[in-house]
């Protein structure tokens, strides 16, 4: 029974994506909507990304210094591990899990409310491909803005680590700098960016599916919002394993 339900939902999701990835009726309208979504989904998320990354970067550095580092290890280990954790996992996978909560629920509730208040029906009656008009700009906006968010996250995480060096005397700034520069592999940064592109697609498309297919009223919109966050998060975690294996 669950398998049939899953296959049915997956089929509906694919059909919706098929309708979404169609040429926009008016490219000018698409660009206007794309710009709005970049602002709503991306630019409005910069604050939370910077805040969380700053604190997590600082906490990772403190944890590494106080609990992992020993006399047998070089003094730059804390800086090195902070950089690797931020680059490889936090700024891509964990940041996208956080964004799945913020952006995913936003997308699902917005589309769900549009569905129950007949705004999507109004688009259809006008002869507009509502899926393409509403969903395509969200997916393209989030996929194109996510590398910027990842970059900001890495930078904020490292800034957080420097805060522990300058303001808390946990590690000396020179040891931290040495660790951050030690055996830097540029590919690790690109790996994080590539993974985040997949995660951004998952967040935007899965949340849009749950929001767009809402039937009922406000309770169903709330459920769709929760389902969007849960499903996006689970899919991000699963795909993270495969992407990490493939890209490493």
């Amino acid at each position: 029974m669950y398998i049939i339900k899953f296959l049915q939902s997956f089929g509906e999701y694919l059909l919706l994506m098929g309708r979404s990835f169609q040429k926009p009726e008016r490219f000018k309208m698409f660009l206007r909507k794309y710009y709005q979504e970049v602002m709503a989904l991306g630019v409005n998320s910069i604050g939370i990304v910077l805040l969380i990354s700053l604190f997590i970067g600082a906490v990772i550095c403190i944890q590494m210094k106080l609990n992992i580092q020993s006399a047998w290890m070089p003094t730059w280990v804390s800086g090195y591990t902070t950089r690797e954790i931020m680059l490889l996992e936090f700024s891509s996978a964990i940041m996208c899990l956080i964004l799945a909560g913020k952006v995913g629920s936003n997308i699902a509730s917005e589309l769900g409310t549009m569905r129950v208040t007949q705004q999507i029906d109004a688009l259809e009656i006008m002869g507009v491909n509502s899926a393409s008009y509403l969903i395509l700009p969200k997916i393209t906006a989030l996929v194109s803005i996510i590398p910027v968010l990842v970059t900001f996250s890495v930078a904020a995480g490292i800034a957080g680590a420097y805060c522990t060096a300058y303001f808390a005397d946990i590690i000396t700034p020179s040891d931290l700098t040495l660790g951050l520069q030690h055996q830097f592999t540029q590919w690790f940064f690109w790996m994080g960016v590539i993974k985040s592109l997949f995660f951004a697609f998952i967040i935007a498309s899965v949340s849009s599916y749950y929001g767009y297919t809402v039937r009922g009223g406000s309770i169903e919109v709330g459920k769709a919002s929760t389902n969007a966050v849960v499903s996006s998060s689970v899919l991000i975690l699963f795909s993270d394993i495969f992407l990490t294996k493939m890209l490493s």
Binding site: E25, Q118, Q119, D121, A122, I125, M126, G127, V128, N129
Partner: protein, 256 residues
């Protein structure tokens, strides 16, 4: 003119519409009336293509909606304006942007011309001056009028109104009814109104279709409805003792 030919609609095992045959005339306000759950909303959804009929045909001036390709259906929909029960204005846009939306999407006119057309439509529904407001800043009646302005922006050949008076006070309902009727006659369009408002039935019902339990139970004009001898229709329209007495008085006056 819209012709409905032997229309059936069922959801799973539940038959909602059975053997509906009717015509909605050009230049007239055509009303679909019936109790809640009688199937009138399903009929309207079938007419505009939001539901697929189980059997039967819907002809828009001879063009069969049920046999149309996706592309043909999209083109037909650009000739349709619809006023939804909930108004369905886009929350994120101002009133002017809402009215301009179909023009921005499909019209090849310049921005200035599109804006002028939208302002003209807003003036037509007496909403001049409200163009920069958002839908949540408007009253229910103003939202309905803004939705009418959006529906007529593309100069549609067919106008559908789903319970346009729901949630409105009687006076505002009369304003909306008059607006719909006037726009229908001015532009000579085929208007179909789904309602259970009796003031609308008497006031603007030039062609009334009464649906009862998914079947066509009666059809006629607002003049004929007063004297119709269909018991179910009379029980529905003249439900209260007061209205029953009123009907008898009117018939007695007509006879006298």
């Amino acid at each position: 003119m819209i012709t409905v030919d032997k229309l059936y609609k069922s959801f799973d095992d539940r038959q909602v519409l059975s053997d509906i045959n009717t015509e909605f005339h050009n230049g007239k306000t055509n009303l679909i009336i019936g109790q809640s759950g009688s199937g009138k909303t399903v009929l309207m959804n079938c007419l505009v293509g939001l539901h697929e009929p189980s059997q039967g045909h819907i002809l828009y001036d001879g063009r069969d909606l049920t046999a149309m390709s996706k592309r043909e259906r999209t083109l037909l929909r650009r000739e349709i304006g619809m006023l939804f029960q909930s108004s369905a204005l886009f929350d994120s846009m101002t009133v002017l942007d809402n009215v301009m939306f179909p023009l921005d999407m499909f019209s090849t006119k310049s921005y200035k011309e599109r804006r002028e057309r939208a302002l003209h439509c807003l003036d037509r529904v007496n909403l001049g001056g409200a163009e920069s407001k958002y839908p949540n800043e408007l009253s229910g009646g103003m939202q309905k009028r803004a939705a009418i302005a959006r529906a007529i922006a593309m100069e549609p050949r067919y106008l559908f109104c789903d319970e346009p008076n729901s949630g409105l006070d009687p006076k505002t309902s009369l304003v909306i009814d008059k607006l719909i009727s006037d726009i229908t006659h001015e532009n000579n369009i085929t208007t179909v109104v789904n309602t259970h408002d009796m003031n609308s039935v008497i006031g603007i019902g030039e062609n009334i279709l009464f649906i009862d339990k998914g079947h066509k139970a009666w059809q006629g004009s607002n003049k004929e409805v007063l004297t119709a001898d269909n018991k179910r229709l009379n029980d529905f329209i003249f439900a209260s003792d007061f209205s029953k007495q009123l009907r008898q008085d009117i018939i007695a006056n007509m006879a006298g």
